[in-house]
């Protein structure tokens, strides 16, 4: 067969979202690839320049439709750093619970999609079934399943409701058992191992140079986590491990994410059990009429990698002069052509899935 260009997207079952990976194939082998994104661009950064902080806050939930609250919390933290506000400890603790639950939910979505790309359709149903429990917890805590709009500048919207703690602790125990089941159907299945081991190898030096972060970089063997390196929300007081892989292949990305889910259940338990008493919102806190004229760059560990926001205040209005959203998956998707060469067409969904794309966040 002669070489030809093949569209893996934008309307294609393997792309979870609207994006396109153009691959030049020789038979089944990939010679070259080009990422095409931007189908979902909404100009969020421009919208932010025209809105006051509070009215932009609910839009952060729409930045990523899988890990919504991570972005809202990140935006709130950025604004807090800009204003020089420290939220009460209880609020920070509640945010940790929220973020870690969000991480589990996000990784569950990823796991389901990843496995269903390899034809393992049972796994997607199991993973999404268990995600339902976490969405129920969100419903209980925040009042919404997906778009929570829960963190506020200076704290969170409401205190944890009664029975939430007990319910969440039980669910975390349950989740640990389920993760064992996922391992049984994925890790212990030779077919799964055959499909993932040695596929889409991203060496550490390359990963660092490309700017990959989060599970993708950790799979390449770098012990790096913004929660550890640049602690926020009191993550430095909590006890957790940063899982790393060895080879940087699809298998390592899978194991790293699975282990992260385990760590997250442990983090939720710690945060709930050690939750300090106090306010969930700074008493008498009032948004100032003007934002201070300086710039702040706040990073946070999104489930997909290093998410960050760069906010500039102009000292005159209540609207950000500039808001830059650094999306981890944006980098990961554009980096795919750098390491996909030589793979097969069958590996494309596996490599794509390893980046855990969430298009709303990539295109912003």
């Amino acid at each position: 067969m002669t070489e030809m260009w093949l569209n893996m997207g934008p309307q294609h079952p393997s792309t979870h979202g609207l994006w396109d990976l153009l691959v030049r194939v020789d038979g089944e082998t990939i010679k070259e690839a080009v990422t095409k994104i931007g189908y979902l661009h909404r100009g969020v950064e421009k919208i932010a320049e025209n809105r006051i902080i509070e009215k932009f806050l609910p839009l952060n939930d729409r930045l990523c439709y899988v890990a919504n609250s991570s972005w809202t919390a990140l935006f709130v933290m950025t604004v807090e750093e800009l204003l020089g506000v420290v939220p009460p400890e209880r609020a920070q603790s509640i945010r940790v619970v929220l973020l870690e639950l969000q991480r589990i939910a996000s990784h569950l979505v990823w796991l389901g999609a990843y496995c269903s790309d390899m034809g393992l359709l049972t796994m997607i149903l199991w993973a999404w079934r268990d995600r339902e429990l976490i969405l129920d917890l969100f419903l209980l805590l925040t009042g919404a399943r997906i778009t929570h709009n829960f963190p506020r500048v200076g704290g969170v919207r409401n205190d944890i409701p009664p029975t939430f703690k007990e319910r969440t602790l039980k669910t975390m125990d349950y989740m640990d058992e389920r993760i064992k089941e996922y391992e049984m159907i994925c890790s212990e299945s030779t077919l799964f191992v055959m499909r993932t081991k040695g596929i889409g190898v991203l060496p550490l030096e390359k990963a660092k140079s490309l700017g990959c972060t989060g599970p993708v970089l950790r799979a390449s063997g770098m012990k790096q986590d913004v929660r550890k390196d640049d602690p926020y929300l009191g993550y430095d007081k909590l006890d957790f491990e940063v899982p790393i892989g060895k080879n940087g292949d699809a298998w390592d990305r899978y194991t790293v994410r699975l282990e992260e889910m385990r760590q997250s259940t442990s983090l939720v338990r710690q945060a709930l059990n050690n939750m300090p008493e106090g306010d969930f919102l700074i008493p008498n806190f009032k948004m100032p009429k003007t934002l201070p004229a300086r710039a702040v760059y706040r990073r946070a560990e999104d489930p997909r990698g290093e998410g960050a926001m760069y906010i500039v205040g102009d000292g005159k209005t209540n609207k950000p002069y500039r808001l830059k959203i650094r999306s981890p998956t944006y980098v990961h998707l554009l980096a795919i052509p750098h390491y996909i060469k030589g793979a097969r067409i069958s590996d494309v969904p596996v490599i794509m899935g390893g980046a855990d794309p969430c298009m709303a966040e990539v295109d912003r």
Partner: protein, 226 residues
């Protein structure tokens, strides 16, 4: 010890308030050393200072950005976290945010370039991943990165001629639009009450739609048009 004290002093002076960043326990003066090394590059670095623990900020001249970044790379700043741009009408400010995995320190480089002919050297020779951020900055601000491979539109359509995140690209937010429309409506009602003459057809229609049944419809229709 000196470093810590200096940091504290600067922090309290500049920020005035405690920041939600946990301050590292022992600092080895890494930030200070980096600042000193930067300051030695007199001709390219305008000023450099330790903002607060783990944060260094430096203003550089755009011509020397590659040299500065090479220096930073050699002193341990190995992760180019973000490249972005801020539009100050006449000038654009390029912002490079570089993180050091080993020393856990963030470097913020700022370089002012001309707003009319934005041009700066690309960092792709140091970090391959710089290409992605630079393409986005080109896409949104029209900054031309010299030496960046494949400097094309990434998020926006190829045939666009505008750079939407420039301040010259005006967008009316829906809140402003609503205020404006409300004002116009009130004006129309006022003129209608004052003058016995029939109001202009548009205003009448708007007022008619603005009955009890479907309140925000007119606002929405015009909003969608924009």
């Amino acid at each position: 010890m000196r470093t810590t004290a200096a940091n504290k002093g600067e922090t309290s002076a500049e920020r005035g308030v405690g920041v939600a960043v946990a301050s590292g326990g022992e600092r080895r003066g890494f930030e200070e050393r980096v600042v000193l090394r930067l300051r030695k590059l007199n001709e390219t670095v305008i000023d450099a200072s330790v903002q607060n623990p783990h944060r260094v900020i430096a203003n550089v001249k755009p011509e020397g950005i590659v040299d500065v970044c090479r220096l930073l790379m050699s002193s341990g700043f190995d992760h180019l976290s973000c490249v972005t741009c801020v539009d100050y009408d006449t000038e654009l400010e390029m912002v490079y945010l570089i993180w050091s995995y080993k020393e856990k320190c963030l470097m913020e480089l700022r370089a002012r370039i001309s707003g009319t002919e934005p041009k700066i050297s690309s960092l792709t020779s140091i970090w391959t991943g710089a290409e992605f951020h630079e393409r986005e900055a080109y896409d949104m601000f029209g900054v031309h990165f010299e030496g960046c491979p494949n400097l094309t539109r990434v998020l926006l359509p190829d045939d666009w001629a505008v750079f939407p995140l420039r301040k010259s690209f005006k967008v009316e937010s829906i809140h402003d639009k609503k205020k404006r429309l409300d004002g116009e409506k009130a004006k129309a009602v006022k003129t209608q009450a004052e003058t016995p003459a029939p109001p202009p057809p548009g205003a009448e229609k708007s007022a008619g739609e603005k009955g009890d049944k479907d309140p925000p419809r007119d606002v929405i229709v015009q909003k969608e048009g924009s």
